[in-house]
């Protein structure tokens, strides 16, 4: 069993950071949606806010790491000007051309919205803290940013895995 350097970075990008990042969204969404003063004691709110502050901040950091690794480490390998690079392979046939020209190009651009939106959500959680439990409109704003980050990250992850299936990075 052997992994090339490129495969290791692809795994770190997609699975080791990307996987937990997407999974953490589920926990974050439940924690944010359940952060209501009607349902929780002040101590419960304080504990939950501490977790959310840490969790959303770490997630924002993970989102930045994922896009930075993708852009500055994996993309140069993907678009290498050699006949066996994934980009060259995809562009070599009309049947696979769209995997690069539509799918990969869209993914690499739109993915940057995820860390931006996740950072904004984390900043609001850090700034407002327990007030999110009492203010429904603020909580909904954080949820909207958080869901936006999740939607973009999921889309990029799905497209990324399909492109990798069509032309793996080796």
């Amino acid at each position: 069993m052997h992994f090339t350097e490129r495969e290791i970075f692809a795994l770190v990008h997609g699975l080791l950071i990307g996987g937990p990042f997407l999974l953490a969204f589920a926990g974050g969404l439940v924690a944010l949606d359940g952060l209501r003063a009607d349902y929780m004691t002040p101590q419960g709110i304080a504990t939950q806010v501490r977790r959310l502050r840490l969790g959303t901040s770490v997630m924002a950091l993970m989102a930045w790491l994922i896009v930075l690794i993708g852009t500055w480490i994996l993309l140069p390998w993907y678009r290498e000007d050699t006949p066996d690079s994934p980009r060259s392979i995809l562009l070599s046939s009309p049947d696979t051309r769209d995997w690069h020209e539509f799918a990969d190009v869209w993914k690499t651009h739109v993915a940057y919205m995820s860390p931006i939106l996740a950072t904004a959500a984390a900043a609001l959680v850090v700034y407002y803290g327990p007030r999110l439990a009492r203010d429904r409109s603020l909580r909904n704003l954080v949820l909207a940013l958080f869901l936006g980050a999740f939607a973009v990250a999921s889309l990029a992850a799905l497209i990324g895995s399909l492109v990798t299936r069509a032309a793996p990075l080796r």
Binding site: A123, L124, R131
Partner: protein
């Protein structure tokens, strides 16, 4: 007989809640609008790189990465710089958060459209 004003005493929790509620919305509005501006910049720069070869060359900070290097770096700078700038400008202000959120939502939607290949390829 004189009456001495005795201010109402807040319980510790009530005092903390009052302090939280007194926080201005400016710093929060700053990051929300900055997110909108960052996403919009991403879409706009993507369209411009397709529309102009010269602009694409200018965005090619790294030959190995291509023009995506400049597009994403500048969009990231727009996000953080506008966040810092707006947070300083609005640090004690109370802009209406729903309006700021609506403006940011529009900017994010425009940014999303700008990064969609069938849209930006219209400018090729």
């Amino acid at each position: 007989m004189t009456t001495v004003y005795d201010p109402p005493r807040l319980e510790p929790d009530e005092a903390a809640i009052a302090a939280e509620d007194a926080r201005p919305s400016g710093p929060a509005a700053a990051v929300v609008l900055a997110a909108g501006l960052g996403c919009f910049a991403l879409g706009l720069l993507t369209v411009l790189t397709v529309a102009s070869g010269g602009f694409s060359d200018a965005m090619t900070f790294s030959e190995r990465v291509g023009d995506l290097a400049g597009v994403t770096s500048i969009a990231t700078i727009v996000f953080f710089a506008s966040w810092i700038g707006l947070a300083l400008a609005w640090r004690r202000a109370n802009p209406a958060l729903p309006r700021v959120a609506a403006a940011a939502g529009l900017l994010i939607a425009l940014g999303l459209v700008g990064t969609f290949p069938p849209f930006f390829n219209l400018f090729d």
